[in-house]
Every structure is written in structure tokens, then in C-alpha cells.
């Protein structure tokens, strides 16, 4: 082992010195655009991350199939828009009709995602709860469900992404230190943040929200106190679905060619990482984690020279954060959060 390592280590560093660089001028030059793009994508992560966090909070389950809940929303957006006559070029429509069309797409996406989440919970997870299955079994069922949904889409829609549809042409709104912020970026970030705030208020203030927190903290006691656990679980899944549906609209807006049978999987993993980074089970944590993950990835890839570094940097930061704060940045689970 020792001789092996001795030969491996120098070779890794001398073979080609250029594989790692610290390009600070480039980071300075591209800092603001990386920030805005990072926040845009980070908001999408955050919306999806909320779905993971909420379900994790009440069931202690990594819902691997949440990425498919999300991708069903993307298909909802795509079908609505192609039905409404959107095409590869930006449509020549008045502002009002674009808003109406996008709202329609949003509603369909939200319904598609929420319905998928609902069906998933009823068909896959409820039978397991009834049998009081171990937690790992939930996880594997989630993976199985994820495969099932993916390949059902695959059979119906084929392996390739759907025709890219353009919703509107992004136009500059204002600029910060010479970097343009366009309407698409602003729309995504503001809408996502509003949704997060609404969700947070809902969880912390409403009666159902209290129920969710109660179940998250202690399901048995919550049941004794008169909380209908089954109803709370279903509600949690549906809320996660609604947020995923909204994320789907923004995702398709940003990446029109992303509507593909397996298009949600990697995004789902990163969203889950975002949830853990912020503190899983914590609603504010999901927002913070999502935005941070978007920013860190972008800064990292500029600093280190190419975009293959994005995920490495993101995961290394995640590991470091967890080592310093084992419960994520904001820590605590849904039940105990003061959110």
C-alpha cells in the first residue's frame, strides 16, 4: 500500500499541473453575474428542497421520488404551454396574455405535482406505514417509485427531451456594477422567496401548520392530542408537491430543454443536499441552503477554472458545514423550529 501511494501521489500532481487553478481575476470579473445566476438557480433548488424538508420532518424519510413529483410538474408546464400554442421562439403576445398563460401553466403544474405526491403517498408509503416497516424500507420503496415513475414517462414520451418552448424573452431590468439583471432572474427569485415566506407563515401560524409541527415532533403524542396524523401526512406531501410544481414552472422557464423522463433526478439530489445544508426539517434552512448551494457552486467553478468543479465544491462545502455544525446551518427539525 505504501509504495502504491508513493507512486500515485506525485503522479497525480505532476502529470498535468493545470487541472487545478485559482483564477481570482476571473472570479472578480464574473462575480456579479455568478451571484445573480446562482441566486436564480438556488431559488429553484430551495423550492424543491422544501418538499424534501417537509416530508423528512414528519416522516423521517428521504423521499427520493420527490424528484419525480417535480418532473411531473415540468411535464404539466410543457403540456399546457404547447397546448396554448407556445413554440421554440418567444411568442408575440401582450403582457396580459403572457401572465394568464403562465398562470395557467403554473396551476396545471401545481396540480400535476400535488397529485403525483398524493398518489405516491397513498400507493407506496401508506401500505408501509400500516405495516410499520423499518425506515430503510421506505427509502428503497422511494427509489423503486422513482424508477417506476421515470420509466413510465420514458415509455409514454420516449428517451429524448421535449421540444424546447420559450415563454418570453428575458429583458434587462437594471444593472449592478455593469452586470445586467434580467426579468427572468428577478421573476424567479422574487416569486420563489414569496412562496417560501407564505409556506413558512403557513407552517408556523395556521392550524394545519401546527398539526404538521406536532406530528414532526412526536407523532404518537400528536395523535393523542387529537391531531389526525394521516391527514397531516397527506397535507405535507401535497404542500411539497405544490412547491415542486411552482419550481417546475421556473425550471422550464430557465432550461426549456429540461423536460425529460430523468430530468429531475440530479436536481433532486442537489435540492436534498440544499435541505441538509440548511438543516433538514427546517423551512428557513431550505431557503438558505438552496441559495447557498447555487452561489457556492457558481463561485467555485469560476475560481477553480471550469464548471466540472461545481458539484465537487458544493459537496465539499456541505461536508465541511456538517462537520462543524452536524445539524446543518440553521439546525433543528421542523417540530422544534420556531419558524
Amino acid at each position: 500500500m505504501i509504495p502504491t501511494l508513493l507512486t500515485v501521489l506525485p503522479a497525480l500532481s505532476t502529470d498535468d499541473n493545470s487541472w487545478i487553478t485559482f483564477d481570482i481575476p476571473s472570479l472578480m470579473q464574473n462575480f456579479w453575474s455568478a451571484t445573480f445566476d446562482g441566486l436564480t438557480f438556488g431559488s429553484i433548488y430551495a423550492l424543491v428542497a422544501l418538499g424534501y424538508t417537509l416530508v423528512y420532518g414528519v416522516l423521517n424519510l428521504i423521499n427520493f421520488a420527490h424528484s419525480e413529483v417535480f418532473i411531473m410538474g415540468c411535464y404539466g408546464v410543457w403540456f399546457t404551454l404547447s397546448f396554448l400554442g407556445f413554440g421554440p421562439s418567444a411568442p408575440n403576445l401582450s403582457l396580459g396574455s403572457i401572465v394568464v398563460n403562465l398562470l395557467l401553466a403554473l396551476i396545471v403544474a401545481v396540480c400535476a405535482s400535488a397529485l403525483t405526491a398524493f398518489v405516491l403517498e397513498r400507493l407506496a408509503y401508506k401500505p408501509l406505514r400500516k405495516r410499520n416497516a423499518p425506515r430503510l424500507v421506505f427509502l428503497i420503496t422511494a427509489i423503486g417509485a422513482s424508477f417506476t415513475i421515470q420509466y413510465t414517462i420514458f415509455l409514454v414520451r420516449g428517451p429524448v427531451p421535449e421540444q424546447a418552448l420559450t415563454m418570453f424573452k428575458p429583458t434587462p431590468i437594471f444593472d449592478v456594477f455593469g452586470t445586467i439583471v434580467d426579468s427572468q432572474q428577478l421573476l424567479i427569485v422574487i416569486a420563489a422567496v414569496i412562496m417560501m415566506v407564505v409556506t413558512e407563515r403557513f407552517i408556523s401560524k395556521s392550524r394545519t401548520g401546527r398539526g404538521i409541527r406536532a406530528v414532526a415532533q412526536d407523532p404518537d403524542t400528536a395523535t393523542l392530542m387529537g391531531v389526525n396524523k394521516e391527514k397531516i401526512i397527506i397535507t405535507t406531501f401535497v404542500i411539497g408537491g405544490i412547491l415542486a410544481g411552482a419550481a417546475a414552472l421556473f425550471y422550464v422557464m430557465k432550461i426549456p430543454s429540461g423536460v425529460q423522463y430523468n430530468g429531475g433526478f440530479i436536481l433532486g439530489i442537489k435540492a436534498f443536499a440544499a435541505a441538509v445544508l440548511g438543516g433538514i426539517g427546517n423551512v428557513r434552512g431550505a431557503l438558505l441552503g438552496g441559495l447557498l448551494l447555487g452561489l457556492i457552486g457558481n463561485y467555485g467553478q469560476i475560481l477553480l477554472g471550469n464548471s466540472q468543479w461545481t458539484d465537487v465544491v458544493a459537496f465539499v462545502v456541505l461536508v465541511l458545514v456538517l462537520l462543524l455544525r452536524p445539524e446543518g446551518i440553521l439546525g433543528t427539525s421542523l417540530g422544534r423550529s420556531r419558524a
Partner: protein, 405 residues
């Protein structure tokens, strides 16, 4: 439940107890009642336990001989041909079984949810590739030596990863290991010496030529590779069985059932968790070296999250904590897509549905875990049983060791 002091992701004794209370399907192993959970394999375990030692061995020998003969018999319905060469499919299944046995040490015994096991598989593959392929600039050693070297290097990586991260619990560990798996794959792209998707060609293989001058261990010749992997699998199984029933195994299971209680009772939990991680990693590295030796080509394409998650699926499918179950699970997860290449479009749908259905209707995996914590477990069990059962004579307590399988 907050996750930090929440239950380990496995079926704990508490969960088992709750399940029994609810459905009265079984009792924890080792208790006096003989009613076991019903199911496809429900009575099998019990019957197996009741067989005398000699008969157990006889059955085992037959099973092993059949396993060795599998690629030669090439049973018609089971065969993956004409889509895929069957001996090669057997080799793939054997490698997956080995992976599942290794991961079972981490997940099944110690209860650590490792979603990045692929990283160790990858490290093993790269050790074999970089030390034998003409595409690499490192020193070259004969292929068979790469198997122990791969084990050593991956164990080293296991400790390296384990020491900082094993202080995390439950699902935090899951995401960290998942991240580690991704990092290894991406670094292979970024670091030029690891050649990313370009990969390493013409890996070495064990020596020997056949009558036509073609190597016996050619990458198209599945049978010798399968025999090699199967032999290693059996050795690993025997060792894992001994480990399971030793002090180490008992400590692992204590950690899995309740980490805090184990710590209180004087089990150095951290040390044993790192051990489980390192041993699991070593087996993973070995299977990586075996797989890449047979394929003869290594690049980073196959070391992705999906494969890593499928490894976990293999363990849980077979029944976490049960090494025979792990073999079954690993072989099955590898087999389904190979068997159904002819209906290529449907193979992963079938796979996903099978995963869901098996988990829903057989929540403890195909073969549920049995804890046989003592080397002379059956002896002790019978001893106790004999005492409580007034009518039975003490002679009923049959001497002999616990079965190793």
C-alpha cells in the same frame, strides 16, 4: 422526532416489537416461541435451524456445486441469452452479490446508511486499472496482486472518510457519503491522471492461456471470472459469518439497535463504526477490482449516484443484516436488467415496480435478518429451551456449532 437522536434507519428491536404487537407475525429471534413470521421464505429459516449439522453441510455443498456449475448448465428460462452472454451475466451477478455482502456489513450490521458505497467500488476499480493498464504511467504489478492492494487502498480511504464523518448520524451520514461518491466520480474527470471518461484500456488479468493462445481470463470469457469471484465471495462469506458472531459483530449490532445505549454499556462505538466502514470499503474495493478486471476497461461513467443507490437497494431487498439475503438481493438487482434486455424499454420499469412491490409485501427483505450473536448460539438456545420445557430431556440439546450460513 429529530433526526439526530432518532432511530437508526434499520429495523430496530423496538420497531420489530411494534410490528409484532400490531400483526403478531413473529417474535424476535432467540426468544422461546417458535412462531416465525410468515412469508415466501417464512418457514425456511426455522427448518434450516432444525437440520442437523451434517445435513446442513450436505445441502450447502450441493448449493455451492450448483452455483459453480451455473454458467455451464446455462438453464434455459433463467439464461440471459440471446441478449447477453450468460457466463458474463453470472460474473456481473457475483460481483453485485459481493458488493451487497460488503455493504451489508456497513448497513446491515452496523446500521450506517452509506449512499456513497460506489466510491469504494470506484477506488478499487481505479487501483486495478492504474496498476495494470498500459494507459497509466504508474508502476505495473500482476493483476492478482491488485486485489489485495485494492482492498488495502480502499480500506485506507474508508478510514479517511469515516473518521471525520462517522460522528454524524443517520441521514446526515447518508448525504455526506452520497456527496463523497459524486466527488470521486467528478474528480476522476478533473484529475488528468485518472482519465475521466477516456478511461483505461486493456487491464491486466490472471495468467494462463488456453489451447488457442487466447488468455483464459479474457474479458469475453465469463466462466473463469465467475469462478474466481464466486470463490472470493465464499471466502468473504465465511469470514463475515465469523465476524458477525464475534465480539465485533455483537458490538455492531448493539450500535445498530441503540447507539447511545451501546456507548453507555462501554462499547467504543466510534471505533467499531470506523471498523465497519473500513471492512465494508475493503470488500467494495475488491469487487471493483474484480469487475474492472473482467470488463478490461475502466472509466468513470458507471460510478454514478444511481448505481450507488442500487447497491443499497440490493442490500435492503435481500434483507439488511442477512448475508445470504444480501447475495440474493445483489444478484437479483444485477440480473433483472440483464435478463430483460430483449424488452429493453421495459426493463427498468419492471425493476422499479419489483422494488416497490417486494418492499411493500416483504418489508424485511427477501430473507429477514436473524441475529445469531453467539458462536454456540444454537447450543445455548437449546439449553434454555430444554430447561423451560419440563417434559423434554436435556439430551435434546444437540451439540454442534452454529451454522455458518
Amino acid at each position: 422526532m429529530s433526526m439526530v437522536d432518532g432511530p437508526t434507519p434499520l429495523h430496530t428491536a423496538k420497531a420489530d416489537q411494534a410490528a409484532e404487537d400490531r400483526e403478531a407475525v413473529g417474535t424476535p429471534p432467540g426468544s422461546s416461541a417458535a412462531v416465525r413470521r410468515k412469508g415466501w421464505f417464512g418457514g425456511l429459516g426455522e427448518k434450516w435451524q432444525e437440520l442437523p449439522r451434517q445435513k446442513q453441510w450436505a445441502v450447502l455443498i450441493i448449493v455451492v456445486v450448483l452455483a459453480y456449475l451455473l454458467p455451464v448448465i446455462n438453464p434455459p428460462l433463467i439464461s440471459t441469452e440471446p441478449g447477453n452472454d450468460f457466463p458474463l451475466a453470472c460474473q456481473t451477478m457475483a460481483v453485485w452479490a459481493l458488493v451487497a455482502v460488503g455493504l451489508n456489513v456497513v448497513i446491515g450490521y452496523a446500521g450506517l446508511l452509506d449512499l456513497g458505497y460506489i466510491a469504494f467500488f470506484a477506488v478499487g476499480s481505479y487501483v486495478a486499472a492504474m496498476l495494470t493498464s498500459p494507459d497509466s504511467t504508474f508502476l505495473k504489478i500482476p493483476y492478482l496482486w491488485t486485489i489485495p492492494v485494492a482492498m488495502a487502498v480502499t480500506m485506507f480511504f474508508g478510514v479517511l472518510l469515516g473518521v471525520p464523518t462517522l460522528r454524524l448520524r443517520g441521514d446526515y451520514l447518508a448525504i455526506v457519503t452520497l456527496g463523497f461518491g459524486e466527488i470521486v466520480r467528478i474528480l476522476a474527470t478533473i484529475i488528468p491522471a485518472m482519465k475521466g471518461q477516456v478511461g483505461f484500456q486493456n487491464l491486466g488479468h490472471p495468467p494462463g492461456l488456453d489451447a488457442h493462445g487466447v488468455p483464459i481470463f479474457a474479458n469475453s470469457n465469463g466462466t473463469p471470472w465467475y469462478w474466481l469471484t464466486l470463490t472470493i465471495l465464499i471466502i468473504v462469506l465465511l469470514l463475515a459469518g465469523n465476524l458477525e458472531r464475534s465480539r465485533v459483530g455483537r458490538n455492531w449490532i448493539a450500535i445498530r439497535e441503540d447507539e447511545d445505549a451501546a456507548e453507555t454499556m462501554g462499547v467504543p462505538t466510534f471505533k467499531y463504526k470506523v471498523w465497519a466502514f473500513a471492512i465494508g470499503a475493503g470488500i467494495g474495493g475488491m469487487s471493483g477490482a474484480l469487475m474492472s478486471g473482467q470488463v478490461g476497461f475502466v472509466n468513470n461513467q458507471k460510478f454514478d449516484v444511481v448505481t450507488s443507490v442500487l447497491f443499497v437497494a440490493a442490500v435492503v431487498l435481500g434483507g439488511a443484516g442477512n448475508k445470504v439475503g444480501a447475495i440474493l438481493g445483489g444478484a437479483l438487482v444485477a440480473y433483472i436488467p440483464l435478463r430483460f434486455t430483449a424488452i429493453a424499454d421495459y426493463k427498468y420499469l419492471i425493476f422499479g415496480l419489483a422494488l416497490c412491490l417486494i418492499m411493500i409485501f416483504r418489508s424485511h427483505g427477501l430473507l429477514a435478518a436473524r441475529q445469531q450473536l453467539l458462536a454456540y448460539g444454537r447450543h445455548a438456545y437449546n439449553e434454555v429451551k430444554a430447561r423451560t420445557d419440563a417434559k423434554s430431556a436435556k439430551a435434546k440439546a444437540a451439540p454442534g456449532k452454529e451454522a455458518s450460513l
